[in-house]
Symmetry: none
Subunit: 209 residues, 4 copies
DNA sequence: AATGAATGAGTCTTCATTCAT
DNA sequence: TATGAATGAAGACTCATTCAT
């Protein structure tokens, strides 16, 4: 997915040696911690380095600037998310569309809900970055997987699977984000999720059969 | 909607004299301009003041700090948005749910799409503010209007209009936001919008009749 | 005593008309209030004007700058103090030195202790002003009165009354100030005062008889 | 003596590395220089840093704000002063009170007179700080030493040495300060000092024998 | 390679003072 | 003469980034 991170945001070296790997992981974890406790505003390079137990200098060895840190963090999570979605899609090949859609909802929902606070923080962090390229790369990659899944659904023969795909993903991704924006309670969330599935089902029943 | 802006964000004085009014408006407009051209990162107090053609000091007479400026801006737009939604809801009283939902989509969509770049900028600006209270106040206000509209729909007798309302609004608001996130083209957007309507129709057809 | 207030500190107009008098008094009172509640740091021209119920503009009509305000305030108090000391001195003409010294202590002490917080505030305010001239003028004026008193004491024939005067006044004024610096309690203060008198008596008994 | 500097005034890091030590000393010296030449008003962070030959940033690594700088400076001088007084007191154990008092006068006087301009500047600087705690700690520490000295004087058996101590120290410290306030000339100062001693002697001769 | 002291450009913010109304 | 909106110089402070050790 890296897909050309705006040059300045590329990590400096890809850690291969075990020591480096540990360092980088510590930095990532520290970034998350600071992000959670202080938000983007409180995310200072010194603060992260301190929390990670390394010196600023060391940190700059791996990340050329502060943004690259957050960028890499988002990249990491988006990559994981993409992989999970792809896995789901692979698994759902040849199944009915409705089921496929529901599975997509479940997977995406779960991924975003596991660490809700982190999800919130990342959603916010994106606003301050030049992440258009990153998000676009993610969208493209995932769209391919989902479109594919819908195309090959057992009961689906829409001439334009892509259109259906755009609708479903927009609605799903958007709804999830809105849930975080509104700060709904756990029960409401569950209800919402099942209604969303119902909605998708209802829609698919009227389309491309 | 003001709903207790976190004290530090409250404007300092409400301009009463005509000279003040002009000044404040200039500041607002300048804020928008800067937000559009430089984003939240480039939004400096000096920058805004300069663009507004006033001195920093003047700006600080009306806004106790930079954030309050953006806060006020969001408040303004959300208030307008709420009013438009309320107007639509009032107009749709007693009409079929499907029509009501479509009208809501049209209104919300239009409001957000008129100045797309500004919408993007505001979406982003929110991430750096303590706007939870503001957003919550907006949600509450608008939810009341929409729930009411759905309750009184001619063909609607759902025991739980509120649940339907949450679903529809989440889906609609979320989808719109996602459209901006993805940077879809105008055509795709139009297609998406009509599909979204179809989806809502399909869903409502299966519910509460 | 004005004795050439450093040009920039001279009040702009001496209020003669009754309206002006009221305004100036209100400003003085406001200055004291602000000084007491916020200290020198919190003493802003806007703050004082507001508290005085006049506009900044009006205030600047009477005081050309912030310092002149504090300067005038100190001048006022020093003048009153000088008058009280002079009165005491006049009254003590021809009395024994010891009694004269004690009377001086009582007068000075009383004057500084009546509004202790204000005294503290003024002591501090002086530090930030170009008040050397003012203080010098005060010292000269008062020294004249006290020296005179000591010279004419019934039992005093020191060849150098001036030297005695310097010692006594230095000790008295200094001690009073130190009392405020240390923040002694009321009882300690009383004890201290009577001991100070005893000390002066003891000293005078060994001198110039 | 640190005695809990009001948290905001505590130095940020205590320099351990030699480079740091040099830096901090340079900053201190620069602070003194600026204080002497421009007074508290002219003491700006940039000014001090410039004079110290370091960047503002460096200065802020050691002192969280401007005040802490002056605070630390006062602390330094008060500590030295306390040490000198203590040394004198230790040395005067078992000697006659009068001698002890004179020694105290000499020591305190010398300490304050060595760099008169600096003394003046520090006296003034205190007015703008939250130094009550600092001064109180100093007073307590020094009072202990002097009281002790008086208690153990060979010819002293006052039931309340503490009261005598308060009087003497108040008179001495206060007089010294007053000398600076009045701007007396060197000759007057010498005369004053010897008279002050005479006064103390006279007083002690009437007490607690 | 790691460290962390030093840098200084860049921001926010205040407040004495002016001046058009 | 009074008002208070506007001014803008001045100053405090932060923090990403560098580089000597």
């Amino acid at each position: 997915m890296p897909a050309q991170p705006p040059k300045a945001l590329k990590p400096r070296k890809t850690p291969s040696q075990p020591r480096s790997r540990v360092t980088v992981d510590a930095i990532f974890e520290a970034t998350i911690q600071v992000l959670l406790s202080q938000g983007m505003v409180g995310l200072t390079s010194t603060g992260v380095a301190e929390r990670a137990g390394v010196s600023v200098g060391t940190m700059y060895q791996y990340f050329p600037n502060k943004q690259s840190l957050v960028y890499a963090l988002n990249e990491r999570f988006l990559t994981t998310l993409a992989e999970r979605v792809e896995a789901t899609c692979a698994q759902m090949h040849g199944r009915p569309v409705a089921e496929a859609a529901e599975a997509l909802i479940d997977t995406y929902w779960a991924a975003k809900t596991e660490r809700p606070e982190l999800t919130r923080a990342l959603y916010r962090s994106v606003a301050e970055l030049e992440t258009d390229a990153l998000l676009h790369a993610f969208a493209t990659r995932v769209d391919k997987a989902t479109t594919d899944m819908f195309c090959r659904a057992s009961d689906f023969s829409s001439p334009d699977a892509s259109e259906v795909n755009v609708l479903l993903t927009t609605v799903i991704y958007g709804s999830v984000r809105n849930v975080f924006e509104r700060g709904l309670g756990p029960e409401e969330i569950l209800g919402l999720k099942s209604e969303l599935k119902a909605m998708c089902r209802a829609y698919l029943a009227t389309v491309g059969k």
